[in-house]
């Protein structure tokens, strides 16, 4: 498990342990990765985060079209051997997204249950927004490099 923000580690560890998730990815609504569990390659993380953020943005637009207030909450893709749970949740740092991959040893119900607990624990543990933090422009590449090193150690 790799985390950019230390307070994410304990709730994510519990989510993975209790739900039996195989992979987990926590990111901001814009797709910036905050934590990952189980991914071996940075390219996989970047692809999964951008795809996950895109799927939730798409379903949010569909929700508005179909008259749903807000978004659908969670999107589940179920395959023969693996499923993907994708859901947004609110934190003091804004809306974040969780992507959880699970196998037949777990279930949608278990992921739903423990993801809900994870989101509540994380919201309680998250400090308030950081004022004046440099996010884009000239600091973007440096911050991206630092994030990737934190998420994958020396490998990339």
């Amino acid at each position: 498990m790799r985390v950019l923000e230390p307070w994410v580690a304990e709730p994510l560890t519990e989510l993975v342990r209790e739900s039996g998730a195989r992979l987990a990815l926590i990111m901001t609504a814009s797709g910036q990765v905050v934590a990952q569990y189980g991914f071996a390659r940075s390219l996989d993380v970047m692809a999964a985060s951008s795809l996950g953020a895109g799927i939730l943005a798409t379903t949010a637009a569909l929700a508005r079209l179909t008259g749903e207030s807000g978004d659908f909450g969670a999107v589940v893709h179920q395959g023969g051997g693996r499923g993907v749970w994708l859901a947004g949740f609110d934190t003091p740092r804004g809306r974040w997204i969780g992507l959880v991959v699970f196998g037949n040893e777990s279930s949608i119900g278990l992921i739903r249950l423990f993801f809900g607990r994870f989101a509540a624990q994380l919201a309680a543990a998250t400090p308030g927004p950081v004022i004046g933090r440099e996010l884009l422009a000239e600091g973007f590449e440096r911050e991206l490099d630092q994030s990737l090193r934190a998420l994958f150690g020396t490998e990339g």
Binding site: S107, I108, G109, L110, L113
Partner: protein
Amino acid sequence: MTDRDLVARLELVVAIPGVRAALIAAVDDGLVVHEAVMGDLAAEDVAALVAAFIRRGTELAIGVTSGPPNLVQLMATNGIVVAAAGSEPLWLIAVASPDTELGRLRLLVGDLAGQLK
């Protein structure tokens, strides 16, 4: 069997004194299909956890006895869970307090689960 029939059967289960919830759940995905809940018990959480318990119990039963279970019973300090298999993947699950008339509950849950087939 219509939805109304299913709910009526679940209400028969929760009519037994001490029963806190009766629900029909799909054990493969741990989701509730129908529910009758007394008080503030979270049926979705119960379905997810009991479904996981049933899946593991089924693996154990198949490993030990070569056959899947038809009825699963969990006795805990503060409650009882009785679950009976209907048509796959549905199970009828009852959550009750320890002082519930267990024989009656097992009989009813087993009978009603059989009607799900």
